[in-house]
């Protein structure tokens, strides 16, 4: 997946597990950037009676680098606190919840927002902002859209924030991809290890349909992140974004939740910049290490980007389909295209009218050129579809990052830096077969953009 359960250790700690990160120039407020960090994967909507919530003992952050050194220049920190109204009931809610301060909502969560600058100076932007409850069903959470809308909080400095449950916007055919890369639309071309099960193409299935996540969405003026407004060809217009979750180094459990002792500095346990980086690029033995490191340490992962395992697998799994890629692999061609996309940004002169380089420091960050205005007609294939406002120039909620990544790894972008390379025809067509239309919950046209979470009553099973 994008980053759901992508590393061995964090897969056992879902509350701190970042799943997706989005960053884009806001279509309805183009002087701002919207950043969304999702956590807590694979929420079955009916998963009560203790429904999903952020971790009170987790420090969630969204970081922005604006000078290309892979270090945060602006960080937004989110700390959560849970309160229980009535400790003598097992119920999450004791009646319909129609307001954020409803007496019927028994378990409430609040959070603070703190902005930290590059010198470590902290400014608390808000305290005790309410998190809406999970979407339970028509009796418990009638008119959920309006209820959650009230949880959008205006912050000083023309910023706004939302934290709470949302429908997972990521779309991917996990069942196919993790069954040895058997993409259903091309399954008849798969090597099949001699089993010869699949004779014809099949329609893809969105494994995350009906699944919720918890989102932290933040909208801030561009100048809050860059220190000014710059033209697209000015390096200062490009920011690098990533999210992290950290826990304090020591926890002494008491056996009674809420009475444990947490002490010491925070240790980073989850990190996410570009979708699929830790998931697909980093080998299993180094995934936990990746999650613990800051982006400026990512030079140590550059070799896995230059020679990605998936690029070597495609010609093996689909014999005769990726012959040119196979030849490039055998020639030990270093994938400078992927290094640019994932670690340094795309320099000027590669794509007309576009660049999002942050310099020579290799760092996995979601790079966004804030001077590129939102597209009037977004293309789900982003830059590969000729839409410079889409991934890998930031990431919008409708971008088909699975197909973009598959195509890039398959060689579609190698010709940008290696004029002698001719991509295989399949490199422009390979996909897991899904589009944003395969997500049941529609996305929103305005903040926080991710759709209303699926409720448990109407989505009793995934």
């Amino acid at each position: 997946m994008s980053s759901h359960r992508e590393a061995p250790e964090i897969s056992k700690d879902p509350v701190a597990d970042s799943t997706d990160l989005y960053a884009f120039v806001t279509p309805d407020h183009p002087d701002t950037v919207t950043m969304i960090a999702n956590y807590l994967p694979f929420q079955l909507p009916a998963g009560g009676p203790n429904f999903f919530e952020f971790g009170d003992d987790v420090l969630y952050e969204i970081h922005v680098d604006n000078n290309g050194d892979g270090r945060p220049d602006v960080s937004f920190q989110f700390r959560f606190e849970t309160q229980v109204r009535n400790e003598n009931t097992f119920l999450y809610n004791t009646g319909p919840v129609t307001s954020l301060d409803s007496q019927n909502l028994n378990r409430r969560q609040f959070y603070s927002v703190t902005r930290v600058d590059s010198r470590g100076r902290a400014e608390t932007l808000a305290r005790k902002v309410p998190v809406p409850p999970c979407n339970i069903g028509p009796l418990s959470t009638p008119n959920y859209h309006d209820l959650a809308y009230k949880a959008i909080c205006a912050l000083p400095g023309n910023r706004k924030v939302f934290a709470g449950q949302r429908s997972d916007r990521f779309f991917v055919d996990l069942g196919a991809i993790f069954d040895l890369g058997n993409l259903r639309p091309f399954q008849q071309l798969h090597e099949q290890f001699g089993l010869n099960i699949f004779k014809a193409p099949a329609k893809a299935v969105n494994s995350l349909n009906g699944i919720n996540v918890h989102s932290i969405a933040l909208q801030v003026p561009i100048s809050d992140l860059t220190g000014g407004r710059y033209k697209y060809n000015d390096k200062r217009a490009t920011i690098g974004v990533w999210t992290s979750a950290s826990r304090q180094q020591v926890q002494v459990r008491s056996g009674d939740y809420g009475r444990e002792t947490n002490a010491g500095p925070h240790v980073q346990v989850s990190r996410l910049g570009n979708p699929l980086f830790n998931e697909v690029i980093v080998p299993m033995a180094k995934k936990d290490l990746f999650n613990s490191l800051p982006p400026y340490e990512d030079k140590r992962f550059a070799g896995f980007v230059e020679n990605p395992e998936l690029a070597n697998l495609l010609p093996v799994l689909y014999p005769g389909v990726f012959n040119n890629l196979d030849a490039a692999n055998k020639a030990k061609t270093k994938r400078a295209d992927l290094v640019a996309i994932l670690l340094t940004g795309i320099p000027a002169g590669i794509i007309d009218g576009f660049q999002n380089t942050t310099g020579s420091t290799q760092a996995d960050m979601l790079r966004l050129n804030t001077a590129i205005p939102p597209a009037k007609s977004p293309n789900i294939f982003g830059l590969l579809g000729g839409d410079v406002a889409g991934f890998p120039n930031g990431r919008r909620v409708t971008d088909d990052v699975v197909s973009i990544a598959l195509r890039a790894v398959a060689g579609a972008t190698l010709a940008l830096v290696d004029k002698g390379f001719k991509p295989d025809d399949a490199a422009a067509a390979v996909t897991d077969g899904l589009t944003p239309g395969d997500v049941k919950a529609p996305f929103l046209n305005s903040f926080p953009f991710l759709g209303v979470p699926y409720d448990g009553f109407n989505n009793p099973s995934a």
Binding site: E61, T114, V116, A122, Q249, V252, P265
Partner: protein, 89 residues
């Protein structure tokens, strides 16, 4: 990751460390953790919360003291010996 710079920066006496360690117990955690925030490791302050002590090396008296959002490294053979005796009790 950066800790909240506005958080309390506790200061701890040897007596306080010993008292708290005896009360909570000697906690042993893995050393050499990567990704630990270092910015607030060395700033002194007041102790107003639980203190957890990790006796890393008895022979050299190396201790990690965790308090608030800080980790303080202490080298004190006498204190280390006292903690070891408490742990054996």
């Amino acid at each position: 990751m950066r800790d909240d710079p506005t958080a309390a920066k506790p200061k701890m006496s040897r007596r306080k460390a010993l008292t708290t360690a005896a009360g909570i117990g000697v906690t042993v955690v893995a050393a050499g953790v990567t990704g630990v925030a270092a910015a607030s490791d060395s700033k002194p302050g007041n102790v107003d919360g639980p203190v957890v002590v990790h006796l890393r090396d008895l022979s050299s008296g190396l201790l990690d003291v965790f308090v608030g959002a800080r980790r303080v490294q202490v080298r004190d053979k006498g204190l280390a010996a006292q903690l070891a005796r408490a742990a054996r009790a």
